[in-house]
């Protein structure tokens, strides 16, 4: 599952992620990160069955952890189910069901924003 970890000013001072990996022994994949001197965020991918252990190890002042579920918001009124987003997204967030209706699997999203940018109907947005 994907974890959205945000850091405040206190949170960016320490090697929180490295510490949590060492402490829990759980490997994580850093998919995106934007951190500067004041604050920041990172998107981590962690195995579902080890997430709880890792989150417990990551708990620290200045660090907020949220399980990311609805990263992509899909406006079905605007969407015409063209499916252009399907091949643009290399993380396979998008697919068709049997009746050629667009399905969005937000859990795979790494927040690159490419689908939002190139949806001809402007029917997709990212929630952070």
């Amino acid at each position: 599952m994907k974890l959205m970890v945000t850091f405040d000013r206190e949170g960016v001072l320490e090697a929180n992620i490295a510490n949590a990996i060492l402490k829990s022994g759980v490997p994580v994949n850093v998919e995106r990160a934007q951190i500067d001197g004041d604050d920041g965020w990172t998107l981590l991918d962690v195995a579902d069955d080890k997430a709880e252990k890792f989150i417990a190890a990551l708990r620290h002042p200045g660090v907020t952890v949220r399980i990311q579920k609805d990263a992509v918001s899909h406006n079905i009124t605007e969407c015409v189910d063209c499916g252009l987003c399907i091949s643009i997204c290399q993380k396979q967030v998008f697919s068709f069901n049997d009746s050629w209706q667009l399905q969005v699997n937000s859990e795979r999203c790494v927040l690159c924003g490419r689908c939002v940018m190139y949806c001809p109907q402007r029917a997709l947005t990212l929630q952070q």
Binding site: V80, D81, C82, G83, P120
Partner: protein
């Protein structure tokens, strides 16, 4: 066995007509045979819903008190063509807003009108004896217009190329975002459900053929622009009353990095008059072949990567060079089905009748490229062949001396046999001097990723590359990377001047 249009219309009127969509037809023909299917089925409905840039509408506003001849006009900030008569205009789908760019364009104005929203008109005229007024600002809705006639010069392609990008950088096209190194493929069209693949010989579709257009019962005007059925790329010019249309079937769209376009729902009923027509409507996705072309080559004749069927494209992936590449449509198959089913319902409930075409559409002609009489200037004509180069082991100071002597800002760095390995510019040299690095080797400070041009490339392509990379010169090389010359931005400046004075 034959059927006439009148026979079929009789059945539509008495409610006994049998209509199926083009998706259902192949199985019916397999089961009943061609003559059986002809006996059983009267009408096959088709549908497509995709980006059809070449769309637009004629609008008539009626006369204002103190009349004006509207020569220049804008609808919600989108310029419409006013060179028609006093109070008419043509609004093209791809025209972009003067303030919002591609986020709002002609297609959005059309969609807003069909959705019943108010649109602001601003117009100017020079003022004449009969039309004294010089400007007007007014708000109107679709209901306020005398006529709102959609007239699309080119809709419903018989078949369209699929797109990929063999180049090294992502590109933004009317076929969507194409990742570098052919990592995705996009395609358009509903395949065997599309209208023209079901009548590729134009045996029933012609001028006057009744169609479903954007929710209205519309008409085929005749062949569309760029019509090229001889190459499998027939098109139709279509028209319909915007007042009968629905935003369900007309949707504005913005292709980022390209522009505005309009998704149009087009459905054409094919009356089954004889066995020949039945055979055509039995077409399947695997019978429709198109080309995957490289949009990374920005030339008219883009290289064909491979041939592909719509069945493969619709499967979600296609193999290129042994790799499975994801495909995605940019037209909506779900909406295409809705179009075909809605048209089927209209024929069944008697609100849509068949008609003979009044004029045939040419089924063999081929589209021609622009007949260009101007000369295409090539890089080799504009480049300078007197240039200086340096080798990588020379030091910065020697490079500086060479730049001064050669009176240039760009110094290609070469290895054996004049092969290009990098470039240093006056900027790189100044930077090195400022950092007291004049004893460093050229190869330590050079840029390795050199932006180059080929001698036989059109100069316009090279100019765009200079612009994209924000640089002053391109190194002209042969395919073996041997340096042939330099193309400087000031040479292109002369070219622009020359064009203006022609």
């Amino acid at each position: 066995m034959y059927k006439s249009i009148d026979d079929i219309n009789e059945r539509i009127r008495d409610g006994s007509v049998r209509v199926v969509t083009a998706e259902e037809m192949p199985d019916i023909v397999d089961e009943l045979g061609v003559s059986g299917a002809l006996r059983e089925v009267d009408v096959v409905t088709t549908g497509t819903f995709g980006a059809m840039c070449s769309s637009g509408a004629f609008l008539n506003f009626g006369h204002s008190e103190i009349p004006i001849r509207m020569e220049k006009m804008w609808l919600n900030g989108v310029e419409a063509y006013g060179g028609i008569a006093s109070v008419d205009c043509y609004i093209g789908a791809t025209q972009e807003s003067t303030t919002k760019g591609i986020e709002y364009g002609g297609a959005h104005v059309i969609e807003d009108l069909i959705a019943g929203k108010a649109v602001e008109l601003q117009a100017r005229g020079k003022g004449t004896d009969c039309y004294p007024r010089q400007s007007i600002t007014n708000e109107f809705t679709l209901a306020d217009l005398n006529q709102a006639v959609m007239l699309n010069p080119r809709n419903s392609y018989q078949c369209y190329n699929a797109a990929t990008n063999m180049g090294g950088r992502p590109i933004k096209t009317y076929m969507g975002y194409l990742l570098p190194g052919h990592r995705n493929i996009t395609y358009s069209g509903a395949g065997a459900l599309s209208p023209l693949p079901n009548d590729p010989t134009f045996s029933v579709i012609g001028s006057g053929t009744p169609i479903f257009l954007g929710g209205a019962n519309g008409t085929v005007v005749g062949e569309g622009t760029q019509h090229s059925p001889g190459a499998g790329f027939g098109t139709l010019m279509t028209t319909g009353d915007m007042k009968e249309m629905s935003p369900e079937y007309i949707r504005a769209a913005s292709m980022t990095g390209y522009g505005v376009t309009m998704y149009v729902g087009v459905g054409i009923p094919i009356p089954l008059l004889n066995e020949e027509i039945v055979k055509h409507t039995a077409v399947r996705d695997e019978d429709i072949v198109t080309s995957i072309v490289d949009y990374g080559t920005p030339m008219r004749d883009r290289p064909v990567v491979r041939k592909v069927t719509y069945k493969e494209l619709k499967s979600g992936s296609v193999e290129i060079d042994g790799e499975e590449i994801k495909t995605s449509p940019l037209s909506s198959y779900k909406k295409a089905r809705e179009v075909a089913n809605e048209l089927k319902a209209r024929v069944e409930n008697g609100s849509f009748l068949m008609a003979c075409a009044t004029r045939e559409i040419n089924a063999v002609k081929k589209n021609r490229p622009m007949s260009e009489h101007g000369v295409v200037r090539r890089v080799s004509e504009m480049m300078t062949s007197t240039f200086v180069t340096i080798t990588g082991e020379k030091n910065v100071k020697e490079a500086a001396t060479l730049l001064l002597k050669g009176n240039t800002n760009h110094l290609p760095v070469i290895a054996a046999e004049n092969r290009l390995i990098g470039i240093v510019t006056t900027y790189d040299i100044s930077k090195a001097f400022a950092r007291d690095e004049e004893d460093k080797c050229v190869s330590d400070i050079m840029t390795r990723n050199v932006i180059t041009a080929l001698p036989d490339e059109p100069v316009d392509l090279a100019a765009r590359r200079l612009q994209q990379h924000n640089i002053g010169a391109l190194v002209v090389v042969d395919p073996a990377k041997k340096v042939l010359g330099m193309l400087n931005s000031y040479a292109l400046g002369d070219l622009v001047g020359e064009r203006w004075h022609q």
